[in-house]
């Protein structure tokens, strides 16, 4: 608990070029809102937690981060939405 106060919770990082998506298993409750609202099926729920399954499809729309009620997913990208490839 005190370690977390100084260092923060453990994050699971997935990178793809400049794009980084972090998930926080300790905060994630597996509600599936991020999965439902992702337009590109980047995310999945596996063992009750969010999993970044297809980061290559991510267009940095930020819907998952905006809509996650639990602070369990962060999208750090280039700031530009990637065009559909």
């Amino acid at each position: 608990m005190s370690i977390e106060k100084t260092r923060g919770p453990e994050k699971v990082t997935t990178d793809h070029g400049d794009l980084r998506i972090n998930t926080v298993p300790r905060y994630c409750k597996g509600c599936g809102i991020c999965v439902k609202f992702c337009p590109k099926s980047v995310l999945e729920i596996r063992s009750f937690k969010v999993n970044v399954a297809h980061i290559e499809n991510c267009i940095e729309c930020m819907q998952c981060e905006l809509r996650c009620p639990d602070f369990a997913i962060e999208v750090h990208g280039s700031g530009k939405k990637r065009s559909e490839e």
Binding site: M1, S2, E4, K5, T6, G8, P9, R26, Y27, K29, G30, C31, G32, I33, V35, K36, F37, M62, E65, L66, R67, C68, P69, D70, F71, E74, V75, H76, G77, G79
Partner: protein
């Protein structure tokens, strides 16, 4: 771009107590982004709440926070604001807290036009206590204390606030994350009493009992059953039927209560 919420969250307090799929976390994030947009000084910001799921919010956020008694948040907040009008005072309250037991304080805060921003996290149920109906529960819906369907009718929070004289009244939903954030920021910036009716969801009690689906599905329900004020203007009545209006309903200027009282102080001290 990721928004750094850690600036506004007290270390070591997450994960919060709200259920999987509960929209309160979404509204909390919108509030934090709005606070950031408004450029508030954390030391000079106070967040007050009553009792209920929504009212657990202050414990998580890094401001001066007051988790008061059921329904009385606005009254505590009034004392805080009057004692130091320079503080930015926000109140977060559930629909039961704000409209049932807190109903009297709701209408008087509106009437008084004191510079407080109230966000009503309206999921039309008493979630914390297991799912009883509230003054925001629609007619016919099921709750633990309306097992045969609610015989009662719900308040329209916007109409109530406007009728009571509030000078900033808006409604958005936990689906409409960016308009919600914008309305809250506007409410914070508004000099006077601001009410934001933030429609959100309780999948665990209300959703389950009324078979409304998952948290995600209930958010999509909010999307499908609401319509913006401007959009509604251009639609024929049949198209608007059954849809809840969202947007900024009123934004007027009127002397704020503490300012009015400060004038009294100046006048009597000068005399």
């Amino acid at each position: 771009m990721a928004f750094d919420y850690s600036r506004y969250i007290r270390p070591g307090k997450l994960p919060h107590i709200w259920c999987p799929g509960c929209a309160h976390g979404i509204v909390m994030k919108a509030i934090l982004r709005a606070v950031d947009r408004a450029g508030l000084d954390k030391d000079r910001t106070v967040v007050v709440s009553g009792i209920g799921c929504a009212s657990r919010m202050p414990g998580y956020v890094d401001f001066n926070t007051l988790h008061a008694t059921h329904g009385r948040a606005l009254a505590f907040a009034t004392g805080v604001k009057m004692a130091d009008p320079g503080l930015t005072v926000m109140v977060v309250s559930g629909d039961g807290d704000a409209l049932a037991i807190g109903g009297n304080h709701f209408i008087h805060a509106c009437r008084r036009n004191i510079d407080i921003t109230l966000v009503v996290l309206n999921n039309s149920v008493y979630g914390m206590t297991g799912g009883q109906f509230s003054p925001a529960t629609p007619h016919g819906m099921l709750a633990t204390t309306t097992p045969y369907g609610n015989p009662d009718y719900a308040f329209d929070v916007v109409e109530l606030a406007m009728g009571a004289g509030a000078t900033f009244v808006s409604r958005s939903t936990a689906y409409h994350v960016l308009p919600l954030e914008k309305q809250i920021a506007e409410g914070i910036g508004h000099k006077g009493f601001a009410v934001i009716d933030a429609l959100c969801t309780c999948p665990t009690t209300f959703g389950r009992r009324n078979k409304l689906g998952t948290g995600a599905e209930m958010l999509l329900w909010l999307k499908d059953h609401t319509i913006g004020l401007k959009a509604a203007e251009n639609l024929p009545p049949e198209k608007r039927e059954g849809k809840i209006l969202t947007g900024v309903f009123r934004q007027t200027a009127k002397t704020e209560y503490c300012e009015e009282y400060a004038k009294i102080i100046d006048r009597v001290r000068g005399a």
